[in-house]
Amino acid sequence: MNWTIFGIWLGALLSLSLYSFLYKDNPFYKFAEHLFVGMSAGYWVIYTIKNVLIPNWWENLLPAEGGMQPIWLIPGILGIFMVLRIVPKLASLSRMSLSLIVGTGAGLTMTAMFQTNALAQVNGTIVALGQGGGWFNWVSNIIMVTGVVCGLVYFFFSKAHTGIVGRTANVGITILMVAFGASFGYTVMARISLLIGQTQFLLFEWLPTMGIHL
């Protein structure tokens, strides 16, 4: 059996089954959809075991050079507590694991995330208006600084959006609308490129297996 051609046919038939939803919901779509859900879940389970748990936990608990590191039992036990959430009588044990995740996550957010998502962004916004280029860069820099400040004013709800605050917030909404439009267009184009990729797969990889060359 030619496994390459078998693989191409599997991929093509499943892709066509999924695209059939564009006409209407049908058994082919439902079959492929359910298969996709199951296989994706299985893929992520194995990915987590092989790429996260074995190298980061198991190999630290039982190093190749021998001996056991008992300290690494703690995350393992907390992990098992987490899974016990599916056993109603023992579900409360998962609070310990959740606490560790929430506490560490909160601490990380306070420092690392704040540095990258707030301080670095503020730093990037404070630019010399005339930096490089001519009048065009100057105008662009003004739009950038005004956009960030007005956008932030729009998100500030401790003061009523009336008077000067309201007018500033209105400018903020305008900038945000342009930004959301751009992000939307960018997302659509990413999806379209996937569509083009799948269409090319069907036209230039699958059809030639039946002797049809475009």
């Binding site: 995350p75 945000l176 990729g197």
Partner: protein, 205 residues
């Protein structure tokens, strides 16, 4: 006691993570805690998998809606897990074959399907009802046009305008959102570390 231990763990973990940023002596402790965090959080995938199997087993047992397709999900899941555990995940293994020839094309098709639904939903949601909605539409249209060859064929400046929209107004808007969200996250994190926000402990009674 039911709340004391979890709240203490949250407080200690949070404080260690903040301290490791400022006090070099606590850095190794912070790094270990981050590894623990990753390990414990990874176990959540097993809850998801167990839940998926539970839902589909329940559907088959009670002949729920679309129950005939539930065995397909279970078989797909089992096939991936068994091939991964028995043969490994390296190139050339059955797991790798199933991923490349089935999961990857289905994933790409599913996401490409979204192109149609996003476009039709956007058409209904973003109708040019006022000048700001029109601005959103124009901005989206120019960005889309700037990323395909036909844009440059219509007018060679369209890709440049598209790039300018991405680099200036879009970046300004995104920065405002990011800075605002970061402030909110800091406030929420403080509330969690000091035990004021406890909603994450609910639902396990």
């Amino acid at each position: 006691m039911r709340l004391f231990v979890p709240l203490t763990i949250t407080f200690v973990a949070g404080i260690i993570m903040i301290l490791q940023f400022f006090v070099p002596a606590t850095q190794s402790m912070g790094e270990s805690l981050q590894e623990w965090y990753m390990i414990v959080a990874s176990f959540a995938i097993f809850i998801g998998a167990a839940n998926l199997l539970q839902v589909h087993a329940h559907r088959i047992r009670f002949k729920g809606r679309n129950w005939k397709y539930s065995p397909v999900t279970i078989v797909g899941f089992t096939a991936m897990v068994l091939t991964g555990l028995i043969f490994g995940i390296e190139k050339g293994t059955p797991f790798n074959f199933l991923f490349l020839e089935m999961v990857a094309p289905m994933s790409a098709t599913m996401f490409s399907l979204l192109a149609f639904f996003v476009a039709s939903a956007a058409f209904r949601a973003f109708r040019a009802s006022n000048w700001r909605a029109t601005l959103l539409l124009i901005s989206a249209f120019v960005v889309m046009l700037g990323r395909v060859p036909i844009g440059a064929m219509i007018w060679d400046r369209i890709p440049l305008i598209s790039e300018w929209i991405m680099q200036v107004p879009n970046l300004a808007g995104q920065r405002a959102v990011m800075i605002g969200a970061a402030m909110g996250m800091v406030a929420t994190s403080l509330r969690m570390i000091f035990g004021i926000e406890r909603s994450y402990l609910g639902g396990a009674d």
